[in-house]
């Protein structure tokens, strides 16, 4: 089973995704948060609004968030890749003014749930499998 694993960041589970930007790929480190959103959410990742506008200008709508974020936020269509898993897909991403300290955004439950996820026997790492 192909898998990709990353060390914990600030002792919190982390994944890394690559996002096409022109001819290059930009790395984004995301907090892996299974408590963010649901399997039925209208978005899969959270990035800063500035990042969203850097990577795309295709809107999918606006979503109303509660709990850590409050109010209406844009949802963008952004291509995301995880090369080690041979994964590439366009996913809905919500843009917010601030992301968690030390991270570029949040990988929400709906995105993580595309894969097998967990520490795969290593308590200092978090990973995705396909």
């Amino acid at each position: 089973m192909p898998s990709a694993q990353w060390p914990l960041r600030n002792r919190r589970p982390t994944i890394e995704v690559m996002i096409p930007h022109g001819k290059r790929l930009r790395r984004r480190r995301l907090l892996a948060d299974t408590g963010a959103g649901s399997n039925d959410s209208n978005f899969e990742l959270v990035l800063s609004e500035a990042d969203c506008q850097r990577f795309t200008d295709i809107l999918l709508g606006q979503v109303q968030l509660g709990r850590a974020y409050s109010g209406w936020f844009n949802v963008y269509l952004i291509e995301v890749r995880i090369p080690r898993l041979d994964f590439a897909a366009a996913v809905p991403v919500v843009g917010v003014p601030q992301v968690p300290d030390g991270f570029d955004g949040i990988a929400c439950f709906k995105f993580l749930n595309r894969f097998q996820y967990g520490n795969f026997g290593d308590a200092d790492r978090f990973g995705l499998g396909s």
Binding site: Q64, L65, C108
Partner: protein
């Protein structure tokens, strides 16, 4: 900029109409992903990846485009 702003408003209005029509299971939009460019429907796709690929091919300026996930329910509050 202002021109693209008005295109965005036209695209959003059409997106709302498509979401309403898409609630009818007989609609060609039902449970699909619809791409709008310059105020017109230009793509009906089965996935967001296909929608993005087609939209980029048809209209490289994304600010003139809009994507509609017809099944999405934007009326509820999502907790993050």
């Amino acid at each position: 900029m202002e021109k693209n702003g008005s295109i965005r408003a036209i695209n959003e209005r059409l997106a709302r109409k498509i979401r309403r029509e898409g609630k009818d299971p007989k609609s060609p939009y039902a449970n699909r992903f619809v791409g709008i460019a310059n105020g017109k429907v230009v793509v009906i796709a089965d996935s967001l990846t296909e929608l993005l690929r087609q939209l980029r091919k048809i209209e490289p300026d994304g600010s003139k485009c809009y994507g509609v996930d017809v099944a999405a329910d934007y009326s509820r509050v999502e907790e993050v």
